[in-house]
Symmetry: C2
Subunit: 294 residues, 2 copies
């Protein structure tokens, strides 16, 4: 199989996967998404899981990114250290099979700081390669684990992960706040009030409980709790992202419903945000990596 | 039934209950604990659940405290506002039946601050009534939701809830940190390092992810993660509790395995801690309330 004739790209995460057939001109011809994340694949089951992707999209080479390259995935693709470029990702590809490559994640160390990403690096470097993002920019990539990545000279110079999405989901699914957080969060007045609280000198561990107490004591409307809590966590996230200095503008990359919330929070902090669809950036990055293989 | 001849006291929480038979001299003659918290009682099922307690401990009047008096419990006992005394609790008793009384919770409001407790008030005021705690003291009451209560003139003057226990349990049971947090947390070197981080200017939302990244990148031992994370959360909790001024000494009241961790964290902050068993304090408070009824 030859990569220049087309290939299959997949963003294979912990709980789901999204696969695309890319033709010889770099166009996406077909795609699907399902819940077959790496945790749902039994031991030794990755060859069969890959065969299933090919059965749906064609007998083509595969280029995989995300948690598939982690120590819980198929074959571990060791982290590439910052500063990391697209060339570094290509050099670090793991090859579980002759026509299957796995993109490595990226790590960052500095004193006590330690951080890792898997999957976002393809989007970040792809966006720069396609000139969607300046080679020197601060990029916010919300998701289960939000990444604040500082791009410098077209490389990922450093980054910091904030567990905002996962914390919100834990609170929504399993905590005493569950009922209050069942409503969808929107970028409304309650959200902006939460953002301002999170941007300030708040005590998150205490403020989360106060959300419920205010409702119980009739101090705020029950309906405002989900947006306020989302704003509180995202506001705290933005405070962390801007702690080393706030640029005039930030790129926010990811799923549109999330980038909209972060753009609203950044506006509250006085920072303009440019939103980019993460899927577009993923396909840009994966095409550039495939070109280096071919 | 007459209260002076003895009664049954129960601390009836969300997920479990603990009941005691108190004789005419105020002694605890028998007790049991089980998982029949209020959430496990079906609609209309409280008379049967109470009958079951009497079948085990005797046909005596019942004095109930905790979430049994919440809007999810049997009969709601509206919160008593701070400053709150034992007399206020007695005046606020709810009576679902002629020989069953439910102790009200306590609320606090001040500007945007809003807080509630149910169950801890019996322990706090009971400890003061039995001279286990000074009438003017800062008391830390760890649990699912830690309470920092400022006692003044023998009353609960104000308090602040910190969601430390629940956050740790959410992370341990359902998060990406689950595997790392499976080990028991102890007041060891890793715990104290976490406390120092939490006492300082840490970014909890980011630091939690760094716990995992440091292990993945080999920067710290996997075995240290549970104690470090426990220390991180408890250190942040202590920072919040002492933010309005650190007294020379703090009383830490609750289950011994938790009070030991908080005492160690307070020591790291330079504050001496006196540990009190929460059950002793509960029985002290419940006896004083029963005396007012009788």
């Amino acid at each position: 199989m030859r990569w220049a004739d087309g290939f299959i790209a997949a963003d294979w995460g912990t709980t789901n996967r999204r696969a695309y057939r890319i033709d010889r001109h770099g166009r996406c011809e077909a795609e699907f998404e399902d819940g077959q994340g790496i945790l749902s694949v039994p031991a030794g089951g990755f060859p069969a899981a890959v065969a299933e992707i090919r059965a749906r999209l064609g007998e083509l080479p595969l280029l995989l990114a995300g948690m598939i390259g982690s120590n819980r995935g198929w074959v571990e693709a060791p982290y590439v250290a910052c500063p990391a470029s697209l060339d570094d990702l290509v050099a670090g590809l793991a090859w579980p099979d002759a026509d299957v490559a796995i993109v490595p994640g990226v790590s960052f160390r500095d004193g006590r700081r330690a951080d890792v990403m898997r999957g976002e690096e393809v989007q970040l470097l792809g966006a720069v390669a396609d000139s969607l993002v300046s080679p020197d920019a601060l990029v916010c990539h919300p998701g289960t684990h939000n990444k604040w990545a500082l791009m410098s000279g077209g490389r990922i110079a450093e980054f910091r992960t904030v567990m905002t999405g996962e914390l919100f989901n834990l609170l929504k699914s399993h905590s005493i706040l569950s009922e209050l957080l069942a409503a969808p969060a929107a970028a409304d007045d309650a959200f902006r009030a939460g953002v301002r609280e999170g941007l300030g000198d708040t005590d998150l561990q205490a403020e989360l409980f106060a959300v419920r107490a205010r409702v119980l004591l009739g101090a705020v409307a029950r309906e405002s709790a989900a947006s306020y809590t989302s704003g509180l966590l995202i506001g705290g996230d933005v405070r962390i992202g801007l702690r080393d200095g706030a640029p005039d503008a930030v790129v926010v990359m990811g799923r549109p419903e999330l980038t909209a919330l972060y753009a609203a929070a950044l506006a509250e902090a006085g920072v303009a945000a440019t939103e980019l669809d993460g899927e577009t950036c993923f396909l840009a990055g994966i095409r550039h990596i495939a070109e280096h293989i071919a």
